[in-house]
Structure formats: structure tokens, C-alpha cells
Assembly symmetry: C2
Homo-oligomer: 282 residues x 2
Amino acid sequence: MIGVYDSGYGGLTVLRALRSALPQHDFVYLGDSGRAPYGGRDSDTLLDFAEQCTERLFEEGCSLVIVACHTVSCIALRHLQRRYVPAPSAPRRILGVTIPAAQAAVAASAGHIGVLGTERTIASGTFEEEIAKLGPHRVTGCAAPLLAPLVEEAWEDTEIARMAVERYVRSLPDVDTLVLACTHYPLLLPAFHAVVGPGVRVLDPSPHVAASLVDWLARHPGFTAPGQGRLSVLCSGDPVVFQRHAERFLGSALSAVQHVEEEGGRLARRDALTNRRGQVVR
Amino acid sequence: MIGVYDSGYGGLTVLRALRSALPQHDFVYLGDSGRAPYGGRDSDTLLDFAEQCTERLFEEGCSLVIVACHTVSCIALRHLQRRYVPAPSAPRRILGVTIPAAQAAVAASAGHIGVLGTERTIASGTFEEEIAKLGPHRVTGCAAPLLAPLVEEAWEDTEIARMAVERYVRSLPDVDTLVLACTHYPLLLPAFHAVVGPGVRVLDPSPHVAASLVDWLARHPGFTAPGQGRLSVLCSGDPVVFQRHAERFLGSALSAVQHVEEEGGRLARRDALTNRRGQVVR
């Protein structure tokens, strides 16, 4: 069983690509929607949330967790790996989305890569760092703080979205490859394609994240076995709201969303099923 | 000395109106920009932040604190008043922006008031509650989650902003008065005036908040005395970034912004001036 973690809905665009590439595998998705967006949180809080969500996915029986959010991958992935994968023989693994995205960008680019993401993703410098390990490409980052809220508002097909995308794209002249380094942005692909100049490749990293995972599983046989293509979706926010929004990101209907209670600033543990105050729902 | 508290920049539009109405008074503004936006925080955290900021303004010597943020006024004002103003004889007072806004809306409206604000403000139902105490007006609220980020991005004069405002305004047909129930929105006044129909009054509550305070001070003589028109500005985020943004909201230049350190999730106390780790700057 493979766990997929995001602060909210965006990771569902990654989950969609993962399920398409690995249709036999079982997935558990955890969206921490009750505490999203993470953008304004200090780093310690973000690491704490990432730990809680990773641990919850381990408790669900996942031996492999994909951090399907560029912001969390940029800020917290190394911390999570150090904490939960202390040695190569560790029984659990945590993978992110930034390295596959950087690899795909380097493979696609003739020399100048543009990166659009959240303020935290861009400020972290993680893309520059990962791309520098792979080639001598020039990297220009641009924070696009309005794009995720536009998608959350379901305005991705409006002229407002097209003009906002155009404004951010114009701030990255001369790039030949434009990485959509936020998992909300694939919903804006039509807007991006409408405004980029000829010769600019718009790169949605999701299929590359999926291809990279297929390759990783082949190199780690027996780590997680194919199942029956099942999907469980958990969220810490309102499950009805989550289900309504989720279908736009996932591209298909969801039969059920389970709620994970938060108590005293922490996600409830899976084994707290019969809480004395009846606050834990699964 | 009068304290003015907001989660970030928006309260500066209120401060502008307050200083214009009370030019002799001294003000201390505290923008909790290091932990903004508050939108995604749970209510307990929001109350905790509001307590910390209120206490810091008390420590600065303010006997009167204005909560210059509709979201915080709607969620936390009663809590703050119960905690810090236990009796009418208490030496400190805390006032908000929602009641003056509701009073101004009722005075302006012929019967149907529209309210635009953050998701938390609208979900709280506080405007409906306060307006119901004043008259039989119909109230329709609409969350406008993109407008504050548009202003934060300094896009308030773009066609994108005009179209976004138009979309939200259209979702409130038949209102005769439209309350801008978020302190960021006054920067979008030209966009609102460009798109509302004839006979719709767009209400920026700030001058009404100021008039209400002038009236309150007249009824509470000796509570806070006129000073020399001084202004101190504190923020918990990056003071250079704060100063750059603040001037758009305040409408005038700021000579200096002092940084308030955060340590272990709490704002540093004012008396921690000579911290052993040198982390407190005033």
C-alpha cells in the first residue's frame, strides 16, 4: 500500500498520475485540509504537521509514502527521511516530488528553466539546488501566490485565471522550459498553453513523478506489492467539502472520504478508534 | 496611546482613518505578519495569537486596543474582552471593527446588505448577528478569498482585480449596500466603483470605525489622552518587507518598522529587551 500526503487537494493531481501508472497498487491519500494552506506556517510547525501525516500513513499500513506537495517536499522531505529512514535497510521509505521534477526539467530544457511555485517553494531554493546537481542549466524561479487560490476557487477556466497565468509567465522571459512546481497548477494547463510563447515547454511533473516511482519499485522488489487498485482518501478538514473539491483534482469521482480528527493540535492516531469523547471518526 | 492590531497589513487602512480622525493621538500598530494569513488556523490558535498580540500592545503602554481585522474581530473579540476587560471599571479596553461596520451598513441601507469578507468572517455569521440587533435588514454574505491575495500581490489596479471584484459583486445581486468587510478591500475601491450597478453603495467601514472611536473617547474622558501624533509600527515578520508593503495600505511613508521576535510559537515580551541570545529587537 502506497501513502500519498499533501496539505490539501493538490496532491490528488499526483495521485491521478500514480494510479494511472500503477493501476494494480492500493493507495491511501491523506490531505491535511483542516490545517491548509501551510504557506503561512513557520518551518517547525510545517515539520510537525508533516511528521503527523507521515506517521498516520504508516499507521494505515503504508510502507512507502509519497510527499505529493512541492512546498512540503522542499521544506520537510529531508527531515522526514532522516527521522523515519535512518538506514538503507529501514522498512519504510519516503519519496518526494521535487527531484523527479528537476530531472524532467533538465531532460527537457535546452538551458534555461523557469520554476513557478508557492512563495515557500521558491524561497527554499530547492529546485536550483537539485537542478545544479544534474546540469549547468540556468534556473529562474517566480512565486505565483495567486494561482493556487484561483484553482481552489474553481476559477481555473476563467479569463481571470488566463490573465493571472499570463502575468506570471511574462515575468519569466527567455525560459525554454516552465516547471509547474505546485500540484494545483496542472488544472491551469489550458491557461498556460494559451499564453506561453512558441518553443516554451510547460512541464507538469506528475507523470514524471509516476514514472520515477515505477522505476524505483522495479529497483526495490518486494518493497510494496501490487494490490487490487483500491483507494482510501482521508482528510483532516470537512470531508464533504473535500470530496466536492477533490473530484476536480483527481479527475474522477470519489466514493467516500474519511475524516481524521485533530485534537490539541495533533492528528488523532488510527488506533484511537473508540475515543472516550467520541471525537475520532475514521 | 492607542494600540491597533491586525494579522498583517490590512489594519493599516483602519489606522489611516483613525489617525486622520485623531491626529493628536499616539498610535502603536502591531501586524502579526510573521504568522499571517490567519485564515487556515484553527480557532484556538487564532485566539492564542490574538491574546499574544493584545498583551504585547498592553506592554507597549496602550490602554485601548483596536482589533483592526474583521476576521479576528468576528472570531476573537468577545474572547479578548472577557479575558482582559472583566468589569466596566477595568483599566483597559478592546474594541473591534465589526460593530461600527454593521451600524454604518444599517444606516446606509434601504433593506438588503451584502457583505464581502474572508471565508472565516462570512462563516462566523457575526455580521448577520450584529445587523439583526439593529434592524430588520436582509443580509447576504459572500466569501471572497481571492481579493486579499490580489491586494497582497499589489495587483489591485489590474484588469484581473476588476474582473475578480466583478465576479464576486455579481454573486450578490439585489443588494443596495455592499460592506467591504475585510481591511484589504479599500485598496480595491476603484475596482468596486467600476463594477457595481447604480444605486449600490460600496461601504468602506474604516471612517465609520474612526468616527465611532472619536465618539467612544468623548464618552470615556481621561481614558487615553491626546499625545503628539506619533506612530510606532511593529511586526512579527520581515520588517523590510513589511515596510515596503505597508506604505500602500497606509497611504504614506513609514520611517521605521520594529521587529517583534517569535520564540517557541509565542511573541517575545517587550521586557525581554536584552535577551541572552540577542533575539529580541525593538
